[in-house]
């Protein structure tokens, strides 16, 4: 008899739990329709609906992850937004979701983890950086940079060797966010990457490093055979604008390589916008090409315009 009672009790509890779950599902679904609505006239209802789902907290997380394979970009953004609002409470379930067989869900979970920035996700993210799907590698490495834990340095560095430009881009961005000194040579090399996203992201990341350390590393790259490495190195020196950077650029404003001459001249002009060093005349005399000259004059004019009060 006792056994039967326990069975009935268990059954009732199970039923209650199922019913509660079903009620929760209904609640999330109905709020989600509004939260992800894109119509102009319902826009005022969107934020309150997002907040209400976020307030449901952890129990809502599996239901949201289930929706992450949505085909709708708006729904996807809404889910990530809600997960971000739930914050660290969502992380344990999101970590288990990194093992989801659906790569689309995994890449989006990575994105959410990066937004939440909880360091408990770092090791699980490192564990999937060799995922066969490049989108996952891209998002995982990106998330590691967003979280900002130095434990991830080696994992991020491994991304520089990826075949896919987007993953190399993620490595460059995260290397900048984590300021991984060991990646500096890789970043400079990546200034010549065939994929512009990787190339330009490397440029942006290098700007985040300690200036003097970077300048020494750039000394040789100014004259690189890869024109992008050469041009972007000049531009970096122009941005750093230290005495050493200016000296390095000045050495090349009469280069027989007209391409390098132009890039060094532009960078030098940028490094000294008020011509405090008095190099401007030399630069203008050295530049013979009509359009190169126009580029430098345009740059000078842009600084002059900034000085004008009405501009």
């Amino acid at each position: 008899m006792k056994k039967v009672n326990i069975f009935i009790l268990s059954f009732l509890l199970f039923s209650v739990s199922l019913s509660a779950q079903s009620a929760l599902q209904k609640q999330v679904d109905s709020l989600f329709v509004i939260a992800s609505s894109g119509e102009l006239k319902y826009r005022d209802l969107v934020d309150p609906a997002i907040e209400k789902i976020a307030e449901l907290g952890t129990p809502a997380v599996p239901l949201l992850v289930n929706k992450l394979d949505t085909k709708s970009a708006r729904e996807r953004l809404t889910i990530i937004n809600i997960l971000k609002k739930i914050g660290s409470d969502a992380v344990p379930y999101l970590i288990t979701s990194l093992q989801n067989p659906n790569g689309l869900i995994v890449q989006r979970v990575c994105w959410a983890l990066g937004d939440i920035k909880d360091s408990s996700a770092v090791q699980p993210l490192i564990a999937i950086i060799n995922h066969p799907r490049w989108h996952v590698r891209d998002q995982a490495i990106g998330a590691l940079g967003d979280i900002g834990d130095k434990i991830a340095d080696d994992a991020v560095i491994s991304g520089f060797a990826d075949d896919i430009g987007q993953v190399r881009k993620a490595a460059a961005v995260s290397a900048g966010k984590l300021k991984i000194l060991e990646s500096l040579s890789l970043l400079i090399h990546q200034l010549g990457d065939d994929f512009y996203g990787a190339r330009m992201s490397a440029f942006e990341s290098i700007l985040k490093f300690d200036t003097s350390f970077v300048i020494e590393k750039l000394t040789d790259s100014i004259t690189s055979d890869n024109r992008f490495v050469s041009a972007l190195s000049c531009e970096l020196l122009g941005r750093f604008a230290t005495d050493r950077a200016i000296d390095l650029l000045y050495d090349h404003i009469d280069s027989p390589n007209l391409y390098l001459r132009e890039k060094a001249s532009l960078a030098l002009t940028a490094a000294d916008p008020k011509d405090l060093c008095g190099f401007r005349n030399v630069i203008l005399q050295n530049v013979t090409d009509r359009l190169s000259l126009l580029k430098i004059e345009s740059l000078i004019n842009s600084y002059d315009d900034q000085e004008k009060p009405d501009r």
Binding site: Y196, M200, S201, F203
Partner: protein, 645 residues
């Protein structure tokens, strides 16, 4: 000797290099020059095919152009060069080539009919051999080749799946004015229903092979063109009159059934030179002249080919149902009008509409007026919709998905050769997602796919002469959405382009749009996402080669890349004026998404230009964005010695 050889080689290399440089178009030189200034290269403008899972509806042309979007310039130049006057069949054949699916190695041909298949069916009624040739060919296609070709196209589909095409699939393109009043729940429910249709369709849509029915339509057009030419030559030479052709018939007994006589069967009519009235669901009409009225119907549940040939007169064509007036619905519809100022008043899926088939309307002469609602005036879905108008001052008016519109595996195009034309698209179905006072257009050189389920098609307007006006609202004028291509090419005339948003060389969501205007002092006016803008792995390009042009926009325009897209504005010549309201995201601007930037390029290669915005005449600039900039230079500076004179 060695020195001489080295010198010779150096001279040769220099001359080859100079040759290569002069072979380049101004726009190529401009692109190379500006990208270099920004530490980019033209080939950076390229998109991967696998940002999302590729679907089975993607067109090879779109797929290829996504990997090198600047190839759109060459694509458009070839498209306009492919036009041959008075030979619409050549244009149809050319466009058919571009409907090849990605990865497809061969194209399926139309059903091949033996002439005996038709000769057994009919007796000759008329005595004129040219007329009989024309009727025989038409009958062969209408009775045998079209039905058997569509069977071939849909051979792998079940009966229910075939019915789905003209019911649920059609609904994906049909809008209702009342939708703007729905509640959020009702709207969501409606969206879910449509999503359900799409999911259902993608399960079997890949089994459709549109090629046989399109091939049949093109072959028919080729063969009819020859016979029509012969007949018209006879009439022109005055060796015979239309009256004589029609009246010259053998003696027929009173009790004979006309059903077995060519040209006299049900659904066929041959009209004389008077003003005739045609009403109903026809298969074939040949009208020799007069100001005729056509009230035409079509029943998609009983699809069939329709051929209408009107040799002259100011005619009025009126739809009594959808799928009329040069409309191919699960078949082929051909309307050829050779003269007169005509008026075409259609409902939807009409006036050069190919819906799982081919629809062509060819109007050779006269100032004409084209009115319609949805999927009209050169619109193709799993098919080819073509409207060719060779002369006159024409007016095109439609609401949605029209005027050079390409949906999934579709090519929709307008070729207008002469005359000051005006194109209007929109004003009926509100863009409830974004605005309460703007209307969707999705027209005028617009390609459209179902994101993220099915890649779209190609929409194009090619207008050769005349001062033309293009008016639209949201999504139009050389724009596209989701793995598609939207194109406008306007060769000459002082043209006016007005579009509120997403237009004039705009791509949104992994897709391509390009507007090229060769000559004339043109005006480009809009609010945002205009004048060369690409959003979300897309490329939008506007290229104006000559003339003193005026560009006005509010924001995110004039060479703007957004969410890893690329926007390019190139103006080769002329004293131009550029005006923008916001300097934060215009005239060479890119914004970051997915942790990296986009590309925005603004290029002006000549003339004394005026700017309201970031640009200046004779100036290079980099915007404070990721990543973009512009230049206004004199690519070919005036000869200073000439100036002194």
């Amino acid at each position: 000797m060695l020195k001489k050889t080295i010198l010779l080689i150096a001279v040769l290399l220099t001359s080859v290099s100079a040759q290569q440089n002069t072979d380049k178009t101004p726009e190529q030189l401009g692109l190379e020059h500006l990208t270099d200034y920004l530490n980019l290269k033209p080939s950076d403008i390229s998109f991967r095919p696998d940002y999302t899972e590729p679907d089975s509806f993607r067109l090879q042309v779109v797929s290829d152009l996504m990997t090198q979007p600047l190839g759109m310039i060459d694509y458009i130049d070839k498209l306009k060069n492919s036009y041959v006057k008075k030979q619409p069949e050549l244009m149809a054949g050319y466009l058919f080539q571009d409907l090849n699916k990605a990865g497809n190695t061969g194209r399926t041909q139309a059903y091949y009919a033996d002439i005996s298949e038709i000769q057994q069916m009919y007796n000759l009624y008329y005595l004129n051999s040219s007329l009989n040739q024309l009727l025989t060919k038409a009958a062969m296609y209408i009775d045998v080749i079209f039905p058997k070709s569509i069977d071939k196209s849909l051979a792998l589909l079940s009966k229910q799946e075939k019915e789905f095409l003209i019911n649920e699939f059609k609904e994906l393109l049909v809008s209702r004015v009342e939708d703007e009043f729905l509640s959020v729940e009702a709207m969501d429910s409606l969206e879910k229903v449509e999503e359900g249709y799409i999911e259902e369709f993608v399960k079997f849509g890949h089994k459709i092979d549109k090629d046989p029915i399109l091939d049949a339509g093109i072959n028919c057009l080729k063969e009819l063109s020859v016979e029509i030419y012969n007949l018209r030559q006879q009439l022109r030479s005055k060796s015979v009159t239309a009256e004589k052709i029609i009246s010259d018939v053998p003696f027929m007994p009173d009790n004979i059934s006309f059903e077995s006589y060519l040209g006299k069967q049900t659904g066929w009519r041959i009209g004389g030179t008077g003003n005739d009235y045609y009403s109903g669901d026809y298969k074939f009409i040949l009208d020799f002249g007069g100001d005729d009225i056509y009230d035409l119907e079509y029943d998609p549940d009983n699809p069939h080919g329709v051929i209408i040939i009107d040799l002259s007169g100011n005619d009025s064509y009126r739809s009594q149902s959808d799928f009329t007036l040069g409309s191919g619905c699960l078949s082929v519809g051909i309307l050829l009008d050779y003269a007169g100022n005509d008026r075409y008043d259609a409902k939807s899926f009409s006036i050069g509409s190919g819906f799982f088939g081919m629809g062509i309307l060819y109007d050779a002469e006269g100032s004409d007026r084209y009115n319609g609602d949805t999927h009209v005036q050169g619109a193709g879905s799993f098919g080819l919709g073509l409207l060719i108008d060779e002369d006159g001052r024409d007016i095109y008016d439609a609401a949605l998905y029209s005027q050079g519109f390409g949906f999934i595996e579709g090519y929709g195009a307008i070729f207008d050769i002469k005359g000051a034309d005006s194109y209007y698209a929109g004003g009926k179905y509100k863009d409830i997602l974004r605005y309460d006072d703007h209307y969707l257009s999705l027209s005028q050189g617009f390609g459209y796919g179902l994101r993220p389920y099915a890649s779209g098609g190609i929409g194009a307007i090619v207008d050769i002469e005349g001062n033309d006006s293009y008016y639209s609202d949201i999504f139009a004028q050389a724009a596209s959405y989701w793995w598609s291509l939207g194109v406008i090419y306007d060769s000459s005339g002082n043209d006016y382009y007005n579009c509120f948003q997403y237009g004039q060389g705009c791509g949104t969501h992994m897709t391509l749009g390009a507007l090229i205007d060769d000559y004339g002092n043109d005006v480009y006016f809009g609010k945002g996402l205009m004048h060369g803008v690409g959003h979300d792995y897309s490329c939008g390009l506007i290229l104006d080669r000559h003339g003193n042009d005026t560009y006005t926009a509010y924001d995110l325009s004039q060479g703007a890349g957004s969410a890893n897209g690329t926007g390019v504005l190139i103006d080769n010549e002329g004293d131009d004026r550029y005006s923008v309201h916001s300097t934060k995201n215009t005239q060479g601007y890119g914004n970051p998404r997915r942790d990296f930037g986009s590309i925005g390029l603004f290029i002006d290669l000549g003339g004394k230009d005026q700017y309201q915005g970031l640009g200046k005449d004779n100036y290079y600039w980099k915007t404070n964005s990721k990543w973009g900039g512009g230049m206004d230079i004199e690519l070919n500076p005036p000869d200073s010695t000439e100036e002194k004179k």
